[in-house]
């Protein structure tokens, strides 16, 4: 029973006491208020009339300003808990005072005002206390049961009122209310005090008003929330007025007390049922935003019904019934949850103001409107129904608009600075001075940094040609590359000077830069330079100038014929020149050099292949993918060859005979094509590939692809992969939960293999979750899912709760609905044992003990897992499993990971079990 309750109510270890006490407090104060409310409504309508209600609301609005100022300072001074205790005691005292006064119109007016103020303040103070005590994730789970306490309080209060009115007059209800306030105050003392902890946001209303508007401007979400609170306040007030005016006209005054008692009792009973069985389910299933939209939807329905039936009492009962049964249950939870994502200091500052001043202000305005309608005789059911329709439809519309700003809050809270970076640097005069000063630094690192910064900011014209006087070779090389363009002229004489530089690399760079801009600069003379590197470059340009087939030019022939280190240097230099300025005419030279089986030439050749785009190089380039050095250039070269290259890559990927060291790099190469076809190939690979590391590369490639190009991906197919990985994560966790206790009891001989096994499973578990998040990123390409995955593993409880809520919202409309539930199980703050228990519906089998876990592991598709498990079994496991080890094979072939073990096995003369 306890487990059932724990699952239904989802109260975790350590939360029970707090939840029970919070529930009891809310029960008490709502019970007390309901009794008070019953008495006040009956007395007001008996002695005064419904048409006077607007005056009450107007008075309340004025009083709210004063009360809000007092409340904020009060809470800051004493803490949230103590403030609520004092308010309850004050409520009891004030109610007794009003009871003792003769029930004149003025006293009843004061009673109505008093109870309405109490209702606002007490509830606001309670939820401020709860908002501090629970995280967003806890709120989603626990506000349901807590609010149920409040609803139960309303039911009990209303029921008690009904029973009491059988034997006593209405005014006696005030004493019952007083008693309930006092008892609640006592219960509240069992909660921990937060006095002294309230963050230093001690503001008065004078400060709150400008602060409030500042916050609204700074936070669009807050603005929308405030408008929604205003709309809902207005709508329920009009609904309340409509209900009371229709009832007052339909019923004798003497029966009103009993009627209201019964009506509230019924409404609160429905509210309790909603609270206990529907609220949590609806919030979880539909999400917070949709749950918030249920009440206005019913009001819309009721308003339409009232309009169509010209104010039939059943229609107004529908409206009031929806309000009465949902406002303090489902709607209350949803509203509080909508406040939770805001930072605590903002909540503290703004919520009190909203709950007191703003709500009362809206009530006053609405009341004034009702008064005007009453004065002109337009306060009948039909005009009021129209008003409700307008307010409720606005409410629904704005609720729908709230989803994006709601998610934005979590995005902002979860986002890491590294996720976006600081953006492109835009230089102003002051910062340009800093950079130019750095350019003239003698420290080559600083000068180079300045050059790179200007290159990145696309401000290379700020690099003066005088940089070519720098002492450092590295600076000269980079500067020549960057400023040696046709658009500038001033650098040419300084570069010509560098043709005599003692460094070969600088002379090569000078030749390259000058030749590129058409400066003849004694190129023929450079053919006889002492440096083979210079000669190689010069040969390129001389042949290029001469025209004709480069392969037949004497200078190129000489370079191709050179041997030894000098020859390689010259040939590398020739390739370098080709990579910067080559074209298809150089293909033959390039092919000859690449076929010389020299890794350095091949690497330099890859860059040149990009310029040539000759498909004869495709097999060579694909083969070259196995070498990391220069792989990026190789990939660019392959992509440059177009669809033919993509065909070849697809064939290579599908061919199991492809060299494994090439195969593993094919997916990322395919992703570089940035095309729909590439995305389709990668998706297929993800679904069908046997090798785990190739699948992972396909996933990473797909991730890069969707990030940088508008390719379409079938979300359902991706989400199925998410589901698979999440289930795998939980499956491994279930095995670990069974294994971990065994390791602590294992004999020393079994420790090494046991630790290896657990280490391997832990890594696989983490990887499965990582893959699930990467796949989710593919589906939600504009979201920063990576930050969420980091937050889920954070030790910060609030950050984890925000991540969970964000994931929940993100997966609300998933094509594969299970992934939302799976993420909830995976990411929620739970002990592993409980997490495994909640995975039951997703896992075909959960090992009950060590033996079952080992049996399952011996059948794993990863033969490394099987091998390590087998060793652990031999060292520690049960006899029956030891005998089974020798029978393990894949397709009749014994696993290599078990060879030595099986030899040992056979040496012992142990036979296998069939």
């Amino acid at each position: 029973m306890r487990r059932f309750l724990a699952r239904v109510l989802d109260i975790r270890p350590g939360e029970g006491a707090l939840v029970i006490r919070s529930t009891a407090v809310l029960f008490g104060l709502i019970c007390a208020h309901t009794v008070l409310e019953t008495a006040r409504d009956a007395l007001f309508l008996q002695k005064i009339s419904a048409s006077r209600l607007p005056f009450v609301y107007a008075l309340l609005a004025g009083l709210a300003l004063f009360v809000a100022r007092f409340n904020t300072a009060f809470v800051a001074r004493f803490g949230r808990r103590n403030a609520l205790i004092f308010t309850l005691l004050g409520a009891a005292y004030g109610t007794v005072v009003l009871y003792r006064l003769p029930p004149s119109a003025a006293v009843i007016f004061a009673l109505y005002t008093w109870s309405a103020l109490l209702g606002t303040i007490l509830v606001a103070q309670f939820w401020m206390l709860a908002g501090q005590a629970f995280t967003v994730a806890q709120g989603k789970r626990l506000f349901g049961p807590i609010t149920a306490g409040g609803v139960l309080g309303a039911v009990v209060g209303a029921g008690s009122a009904v029973a009491a009115l059988q034997v006593m007059p209405v005014t006696k209800l005030l004493l019952g209310s007083t008693a309930a306030f006092l008892v609640t105050a006592v219960v509240l003392t069992t909660l921990e005090s937060d006095a002294g902890e309230t963050t230093g946001v001690v503001t008065t209303v004078d400060d709150q008003v400008p602060g409030f508007f500042r916050e609204l401007r700074a936070r669009p979400y807050l603005g929308r929330l405030v408008v929604l609170v205003g709309l809902s306040t207005g709508a329920v007030l009009v609904a309340d007025y409509l209900f009371k005016s229709v009832v007052a006209k339909s019923m004798p005054a003497a029966d009103l007390g009993a009627f209201f008692a019964v009506a509230y009792a019924v409404m609160n009973t429905i509210a309790l049922v909603v609270q206990l069985f529907l609220s949590q389910y609806l919030v979880r299933r539909l999400g917070v935003i949709a749950a918030f939209g249920i009440l206005p939807s019913f009001l819309l329905l009721g308003g339409a019904a009232t309009l169509l039936t010209n104010g039939a009492i059943w229609a107004t009962l529908l409206i009031k019934g929806a309000d009465g049964s949902l406002r303090h249950s489902l709607h209350r939870i949803a509203t509080e949850l909508l406040w939770m994502p805001l930072p605590e200091d903002v909540r503290t500052r703004v919520k009190t103001f909203v709950d007191t001043v703003l709500v009362r202000g809206v009530q006053a305005v609405t009341a004034a409107l009702l008064l005007v309608l009453a004065m002109v005789g337009a306060d009948g059911p039909v005009p009021l129904a129209v008003l409700i329709l307008v307010l409720a439809s606005s409410w629904v519309f704005l609720t729908i608009q709230l989803r994006r700003p709601y998610l934005d809050l979590f995005r902002t809270a979860l986002q890491r600075p590294t996720a976006t970076g600081a953006g492109l640097l835009r230089l102003d005069l002051e910062s340009v001075e800093v950079v130019v000063e750095a350019l003239s630094s003698r420290d080559p690192a600083r000068a180079l940094a300045a050059i790179e910064l200007l290159v990145h900011s696309k401000r290379t014209r700020l690099i003066p040609a005088l940089i070519l006087y720098h002492e450092a070779e590295s600076v000269l090389l980079r500067a020549l590359e960057v400023i040696g363009t046709k658009e500038r002229k001033e650098w040419v004489p300084l570069a010509q000077r560098l043709l005599q530089h003692p460094s070969d690399a600088v002379r090569v760079a000078a030749v390259r830069s000058l030749a590129r801009v058409g400066d003849g600069a004694d190129l023929e003379g450079r053919l006889y330079d002492v440096s083979p590197g210079v000669r190689g470059h010069a040969a390129f340009w001389v042949a290029e100038r001469a025209g004709g087939a480069p392969h037949e030019h004497p200078a190129v022939q000489i370079v191709l014929g050179m041997g030894g280190n000098a020859g390689r240097t010259a040939q590398l230099s020739l390739l370098e020149a080709m990579s910067g300025n080559g074209h298809p005419g150089w293909s033959d030279v390039l092919l000859e050099l690449c076929q010389r089986d020299d890794p350095q030439l091949l690497e330099a050749g890859a860059k040149a292949v990009q310029r040539c785009g000759d498909q004869r190089f495709l097999p060579l380039m694909i083969e070259r993918l196995k070498v990391r050095q220069g792989r990026s250039a190789v990939r660019e070269a392959i992509v440059g060859m177009g669809e033919v290259a993509l065909d070849a890559l697809e064939v290579a990927l599908d061919d199991p005979a492809t060299d494994r060291m090439v195969r593993r790099h094919l997916p990322r190469t395919i992703s570089r094509f940035q095309s729909q076809r590439a995305a389709d190939i990668l998706m297929r690979t993800l679904e069908r590939e046997n090798e785990g590391h190739v699948r992972y590369k396909a996933l990473r490639g797909l991730g890069r692809l969707v990030e940088s190009s508008p390719v379409r991906v079938d979300h359902r197919r991706v989400e199925l992969q998410v589901k698979t990985n999440l289930i795998e994560h939980l499956r491994i966790l279930s095995l670990l939960v069974a294994l971990r206790p065994a390791l602590s009891k294992a004999p020393p001989a079994a420790q090494p293999s046991g630790e290896l096994l657990i280490g391997l499973l832990e890594d696989k578990r983490v990887q499965a979750l990582d893959r699930a998040f990467r796949l989710l990123q593919v589906v939600h390409r504009r979201e920063d899912v990576r930050s969420t995955s980091v937050a889920v593993s954070s030790s910060d409880k609030r950050l984890r709760a925000q991540a969970l809520e964000y994931l929940d919202a993100l997966t609300l409309y998933a094509n594969v609905s299970e992934i939302r539930d799976l993420f909830r199980v995976v990411a929620d703050e739970l002990p592993d044992q409980e997490r495994v228990s909640r995975s039951r519906e997703f896992l075909p089998k959960i090992p009950a003990d060590l033996d079952e876990a080992l049996t399952m592991l011996l059948k794993d598709r990863d033969h490394a897992v099987v091998g390590i498990t087998a060793h652990f079994v031999m060292d520690y496991g049960p006899e029956e499993l030891r005998l089974d080890v020798s029978t393990i094979s894949r397709d009749g072939v014994r696993l290599p990971s078990l060879e030595s073990l099986i030899r040992e096995f056979e040496a012992r003369g142990l036979s296998s079990v069939a």
Binding site: G421, S431, L448, L756, L760
Partner: protein, 317 residues
Amino acid sequence: MSLETALSLRVEHELFIRSFFEVRPPDRMVQQLSASLRDYYAPAGTVLYERGQPSERLYFVISGEVQLEAPDSEPWVLKDLSLLGALDAGQGRPYSRTARAVSDVAALTMAFREYVDLMEDHFDFTKSSMESNARNLHDRCLELAPDGVFAPATPSDATPPNPEPLELLAKLRVLRQSDLCQRAPVQALVSLAIHGEGELWEPGQVLLERGAPNPYLRLVAHGRLEATRDQPVVQAAFGPGSLLLGCSALGYAEAQYRVVAATPSLTVRVLKEDFYDVMEDHFPLAGSAFSYFGRENERTRTLLAEQARGRARFNPG
């Protein structure tokens, strides 16, 4: 702060970041670092962090001098363009020394966790940095020639190694117990072990000749291997658990050495390409490699400090 000042500050940050790393960082990484790094100013005498505190933050020193102090140990003095905290954070331990500003210090600081994320996002840069670090570390170790360049060899037992081909679990154990892979995730080691190969060496057999290219990393499983080089003269031995030729192997500088088996020995070799490919998919393997550098760095600093003390004693003038 005015917009102009903020912009100038950002320019200074970017200039510093671009000049800090020996390997040119990609532009995107510079932007991301720029967004994460926060200014930090410590007047002389300030303690940046205490020994024993969790090593959660890194400090990139722009200017100034910082002393790293530990009981019974020579203080280390670090100046401009130094990185504080990486040694400890990389090894997953609390700060092992107290960092105190000797002069006014201007620095940039960020969370270690964010730095690791960035390195993972820019793997090619990380790999190049790793090679550069390894080369520089090896060059510094050469100051300890002839016999302090590498860590002392662990003795091996006298029994000859099993001549049978190594199976997966045995290779896995060798990798797990090695200096280089102590902190590596098991899955990464499994991936390496699957493609790694065992090699048996007879006494006198040459593993590496000077100048010969070497595409492998070798981890010693059993026996004793001896390495020599000239200029400076180095004599070193490698036993079970060691990475043959240490940092020089990762820095592509091992061509300067000749390695011979002194006893019947067993090594597990892994292609460097495989090592880095696996590292790209299992980034904590990089953390294990950096942790190895950290330990080597500490060993080297300690020995160099002792050497300097010894010289000072010998030549007090």
